[in-house]
């Protein structure tokens, strides 16, 4: 199975003799895509790097670009709002991603058997994932209305006296976002796990059952190791997605109340598109990206190390 985003390495090179029409054809085939990717991805990427070393706001026009060396990065390191955002991003991603993956795994194990309507069940759990952030966000905003929302009415029915204020409270706003993220993503995790479970070594199960291994032991010694690459894949992709997205925050809380939901990507969005400090926004974006990249690499390596051990 291939749950990987990128192929590992380019295909082997052709013999050097193949010039002529085939070579020209190759360039012609990639040309439309290459021109577009160059204009809308490569050039903006280089620009972000350059911008991060400048002080520029929209008002001063293109002529107002001023190179200031590493000042932006120095500023980032000393910026308490930046570090606060780092902390909130770690809480947000660090809770929502593992919980999404764990509940997705549990769901996939529950669905990985012959039960009536299995396909329909899978589709139902998957549905929140394909619906737009805005439709989902607006619905949850109303469900989590502190005084008359469905969620709090339900909690009150359970006898809870001290009801959470959700998006109106600086303590509960981030947990509310985490709940929405888990609800949206767990069907996706389950679907990916279900397709990985197809490749689980079935013959080993039978052997283990004959040897008297109980379900927990079978899960721990056979299923879990065979799902490890999928788990890492999910952790990595969801972590990258969660630590870069600002849509839900921009829609529901604008980083508030106070700055209780100002996560890193939202801080970048705010710096760039509300205060128009493009140079500083670029620096925040770059630092975030490099940080996420390093964490991701560490996760891959940890997995590789463990895979070699097994």
């Amino acid at each position: 199975m291939a749950v990987s985003v990128a192929p590992a390495a380019p295909a082997p090179s052709a013999p050097a003799s193949q010039a002529g029409p085939r070579a020209r054809a190759g360039w012609l085939f990639i040309l439309p895509n290459l021109v577009g990717v160059t204009l809308f991805t490569f050039v903006p990427l280089l620009s972000v790097v350059v911008l991060a070393f400048t002080d520029w706001n929209l008002v001063s026009g293109l002529g107002g670009i001023e190179f200031i060396g590493v000042d932006n990065f120095v500023h980032v390191v000393q910026d308490p709002t930046f570090w606060g955002s780092v902390g909130r991003t770690i809480i947000y991603a660090g809770l929502s991603v593992p919980l999404t993956v764990a509940s997705g795994l549990a769901l996939s194990l529950a669905l990985d058997r012959d039960i009536p309507g299995r396909g329909a069940l899978r589709a139902m759990f998957f549905m929140p994932y394909i619906v737009s952030t805005v439709a989902v966000g607006m619905t949850w905003l109303m469900l989590m209305n502190p005084s008359a929302g469905v969620v709090n009415q339900f909690l009150a029915m359970l006898g809870l006296a001290d009801l959470p204020g959700w998006f109106a409270s600086s303590y509960w706003a981030l947990p509310a976002l985490i709940i929405i993220a888990i609800w949206s993503g767990l069907g996706y995790a389950a679907v990916i796990y279900l397709s990985a479970l197809q490749d689980a070594p079935t013959d080993l199960y039978e052997a283990a059952e004959v040897d008297g291994a109980g379900p927990w032991r079978r899960f721990r010694t056979i299923t879990w190791p065979s799902l490890l690459p999928t788990t890492v894949f999910l952790l990595v992709t969801l972590f990258i997605g969660t630590s870069q997205g600002f849509g839900l925050v921009a829609l529901l809380t604008s980083g508030g109340p106070g700055d209780s939901t100002t996560v890193l990507p939202y801080y970048m969005y705010q710096t760039g598109f509300q205060f128009y400090r493009f140079g500083y926004a670029a620096a925040i974006g770059l630092v975030t990206f490099v940080g996420v990249l390093l964490l991701t690499l560490a996760m891959w390596r940890a997995q590789r190390g463990r895979a070699l051990h097994d």
């Binding site: 052709a14 190759g26 577009g36 990916i192 598109f273």
Partner: protein, 298 residues
Amino acid sequence: MTDTAVRPRPAAPAVPRTRRTPRQRRATRNRWLWAVPMWLLALAFLLPFAWMLSTSLKANADAFTVPMQWIPDPWRWDAFVEVLTGEGSIVPAFANSVVVAAVRVLGEVLTATMAGYAFARLHFRGRDKVFLAYLATSIIPAQLLLVPRFIYFQQLGLYDTLWALILPGMFTVLGTFLMRQFFVGQPAAFAEAARIDGANEWQIFWRLYLPMATPVMSALGILTFVWSWNDYETPLVLISSPEAYTLPLSLASFTDEQGAISANLTMAASVVSIIPVLIVFLVLQKRFVRALTHTGIK
């Protein structure tokens, strides 16, 4: 991934209904013992959608009643009428979303298929270097590129037009990867034979390889459609005037009437906005899931 995401169920042994062993009876009972709680869980999981639908059919004043009202009373279509034909109608935004999604899907599938084919099946000097550049950018999050894209589109006069949403989406690295991955797995022998018969490279691509690729192309198209349809962050940054709003922006704008949210209008607009994605998903579910497990693109 080699097959569909659904594990093929072993064919049930043809046993006459009257003579079932205790073991089989137990197995049937176990199936239902699992199914009932799973179905209840799934229904509870979808309650937010039930609330969305129910609220869209209520008067705004009935949205936040205590206790909650799951079945609208009275049943009203006003919100849908208002959302479709009223002053803040979402129909223009719906049309914008259709245009953006359609052009993006066509453009991306075409350019990614051609490029993916060339990266996989044609040999030319510099290919591997270009591919490495693609690989390196594949991990760049789109959000990082929003600032420079904003500046460029403003300089080019494309800011606040649908082109700002369409153009970057037409030429993608991830789409190219998906297509390349497919073509790498296809035999080279057809092309060699066709070359000997005098076919040119375009004919080989168009007549031989493209027809094989249609399932993957449609998978890419579906993913791009859903992604484009739901995208909120890009238009939030690159669009400002209501005439150029796509659906997600338009949905979010129901919040800002005197600071109060109009619950029934927002929910009616949400219902309308998710219908196309829901149809695509329900009709093409298998292909959709396969594409997703293949790429991890949302």
